[in-house]
Symmetry: C2
Subunit: 344 residues, 2 copies
C-alpha cells in the first residue's frame, strides 16, 4: 500500500480512501491511485484491515454434520445470506463430538469471527457457558431440544417450530379421515412426534406408544425395517408419519414391497422432505421447513446484534413450517388399508 501511495504521489490514507470508497477522492487523484494499484498488482490485506477495524467479515457456523441433507441445505442457505452481506463462512462440523466442539469453540474465542451460529442441538448445551463471555454474538438455530417448553437461556434463538410441524402432519392425516396411523421416527425427533400426537388428541384419538416405531439408524434400511415393523404390528394402519425424508422414502418402498400402493392403500406424510423429493419415487406430501428464512433471520440477528448488543431480542423466534402436498397422501380407504393386503 505504501508503494502504491508513493507511486501515485499520495499518502497511504488516500489509497485507503480510494480502495474503500468511504471518503470522496478527487477524480484525478483517484485515477492516479487506480493506475498505481493496477501497475503494482496491489491487493489489500484483509487481515490488516480486520485488525484495524475489528471486524473479520467472517461468521462461524457449527453444525453436527453436513452429511445430513438438512444441515447441508442449511449451510448453503447461511452462505447465501452471508454472501449478500459480504461475509464469509467458517464451518465447523462437530460430529456430535463435544470435545471436538469445545476445542473449536476455544479456537474462536479470540475475535476471529464476527458472529457465531450454532445449528442443531448437538449435546453442546453443556458447553454453552464457555460462550457466555464471548466477545461476539452467538445465535442458536435449528434447535430442537427443549421444545416445546423451553430453550436454552442467555442466547438469541432462531429455530423451527418442529412441534407445529408434527401437528400439521397429524392434522392433515386426520382431515383425510385416517384414524389408524403409525409413526416412523428417529430417536432425536421426539418433538415432532409430540406435535403429531397432539393433533390426534385434539381429534379425540389417542396415539399409543406402540404406534411409534423408532428407526435404529437414519438410513434407508432403518426406515424399511421400521416401516415393515409398523405395518406388521398394526395391519389396519392406513397412514404413516415419517419424521424425516429418508425414513419417508423408505416407507414408500417398504409399502410397495408389501404389496400396498401409495397413497391408495397407505398414505405417507413426511417431515422435512427435500422440496424436490430427491430420494423418492414421486414428490411426497411433507412438512416443509422454512430453512432459508431461518438462515436469514439467524444471520440477521447475529450480525444485527453487533450494532445493538444489549437490545438483542432474546425471545426465541420460532419459524412455522408448512405442509406441502405431494402425491403420497389421500383419503383413508373405506376398509382399513393395510389390513387385508399385508403378508405377515
Amino acid at each position: 500500500m505504501r508503494d502504491v501511495a508513493e507511486r501515485a504521489g499520495v499518502t497511504k490514507q488516500t489509497v485507503s480512501n480510494v480502495v474503500t470508497g468511504r471518503v470522496p477522492v478527487r477524480p484525478a487523484t483517484e485515477a492516479r491511485v487506480r493506475d498505481a494499484i493496477a501497475e503494482l498488482g496491489y491487493v489489500p490485506n484483509l487481515v490488516a484491515r480486520s485488525l484495524a477495524t475489528g471486524s473479520t467479515r467472517t461468521v462461524g457456523l457449527f453444525v453436527p454434520t453436513v452429511r445430513a441433507p438438512f444441515y447441508a441445505e442449511l449451510v448453503e442457505h447461511v452462505e447465501d445470506v452471508l454472501e449478500e452481506r459480504g461475509h464469509r463462512l467458517l464451518l465447523c462440523t462437530t460430529r456430535l463430538d463435544g470435545e471436538r466442539a469445545r476445542r473449536h469453540l476455544a479456537g474462536l474465542t479470540s475475535r476471529s469471527v464476527d458472529a457465531l451460529l450454532i445449528a442443531g442441538d448437538q449435546g453442546l448445551t453443556g458447553h454453552l457457558p464457555l460462550l457466555a463471555g464471548a466477545r461476539f454474538p452467538v445465535v442458536l438455530c435449528a434447535w430442537e431440544a427443549g421444545l416445546p417448553d423451553g430453550l436454552p437461556d442467555g442466547f438469541p434463538v432462531v429455530t423451527l417450530d418442529y412441534e407445529h410441524g408434527g401437528h400439521l402432519a397429524g392434522r392433515h392425516l386426520l382431515d383425510l379421515g385416517h384414524e389408524r396411523v403409525a409413526v416412523l421416527a428417529s430417536p432425536a425427533h421426539g418433538v415432532r412426534v409430540a406435535g403429531f400426537r397432539r393433533a390426534f388428541e385434539e381429534g379425540g384419538i389417542a396415539l399409543p406408544d406402540s404406534a411409534v416405531h423408532l428407526a435404529a439408524e437414519p438410513t434407508f434400511r432403518g426406515g424399511l425395517e421400521a416401516a415393515a415393523a409398523a405395518l406388521r404390528a398394526a395391519p389396519g394402519t392406513t397412514a404413516l408419519f415419517a419424521t424425516h425424508d429418508l425414513l419417508a422414502a423408505a416407507a414408500v418402498e417398504a409399502a410397495r414391497t408389501l404389496g400396498l400402493s401409495v397413497p391408495e392403500d397407505l398414505s405417507v406424510v413426511a417431515h422435512d422432505d427435500t422440496p424436490e423429493g430427491l430420494l423418492s419415487r414421486s414428490p411426497l406430501t411433507s412438512v416443509v421447513l422454512p430453512k432459508r428464512d431461518m438462515a436469514r433471520q439467524a444471520v440477521e440477528v447475529a450480525l444485527g446484534a453487533l450494532d445493538a448488543p444489549a437490545s438483542a431480542d432474546l425471545r426465541p423466534r420460532l419459524l412455522r413450517p408448512e405442509l406441502v402436498l405431494g402425491d403420497s397422501t389421500g383419503r383413508a380407504p373405506a376398509h382399513g388399508g393395510a389390513r387385508r393386503t399385508v403378508r405377515p
Copy 2:
C-alpha cells in the same frame, strides 16, 4: 496483552513467549504471567497474530455443493485433516455458478487463507488464471474433468482415478460372466463410463453407446427412469453399472419393481456408494473412493507447499479407488437375466 504484561511486571514479549511457548520462560515468571492472564481473562487476538506472522491458520475449500454426499464427506474429511494441523476451514460452495465463484476467489486473493483447495471441476477452469498470481498455494482435487488424458496445468492436483474406478467395476462384472450390461450415468461422469468401457473392450466386448443411459437428473427418480429405460431397451441385460450412489440405489428399486431380484436376475455395481450403503436396501457392491486419503494429501500438498513453494510437485496425484463387495452382484444368470421377466 499490555495489561497482562503490566500486571505480571514483564513486557508484552514475555507474555507472548508464555502464550506461544516458542521461547522458554523461567517458571516463576511464567506463573506470574499465567496468573495475570487468568485474572484478566485475557484471550489472544488471532487476527493480530495473523497479521504479524503472515499465517491465518485457515484454509479455504471450494466445492460445488455440500448437498451431494460425495462433497459432504469430502468437506468433513478435509476438516479432520485440517484440525490435526491446527487449521480452520473457510468453506465456499460455488453451486456451479462461475460468477459467484469468481467473487469468492477475488475475496480471498488477499492473504486471508493460508491455502486454497478447489474440489471438483466446477466450470472453474476458466477462472483458474485468476489464481495464477495468488500468494498462497492452490491445490485442485477431486478433479474429474480432463481425465484420463490431461489435467489443468500450473497447479498441483490431487484427485481420484475415476477411470480406474470405472474399469474396476467393468472388470468385476466381466469376471462374474456378465456380457450384456448397461450403464446408468450422470452426464458429468463420462470418465467413469470410459473406464468401464475399456474393461469390456479388453474383454473383447464392445459396449455400444446405446447401452449408456443418462439420468436426466441426479435423483432417485432420475435413476428409476434411467434404469427402467435401460432394462426395457435391452431385456437381456444381466448387470448394471451406476455411476453414483443414488442412481445405484434407484436401480435396485427399479429392478424390484420390474420383478427382478438382485443379484439373482440382475447385478448392480455402483461407483462411489457411501460405504455404509445409506440409501439402499442392503450394501451394494461398489467402487469406493479413497476420499479421506485424497483430503489428507490435498491438505498436505497445500500446506506443505507453504514451506517449499518452488519444489511443489506438480505431477498430478491420482489415487486409486477400490472395489468393495456388497450383495448386489453375482454371477451372470445362465439365460440372460432380465430377458423373460421384464414386462414391456
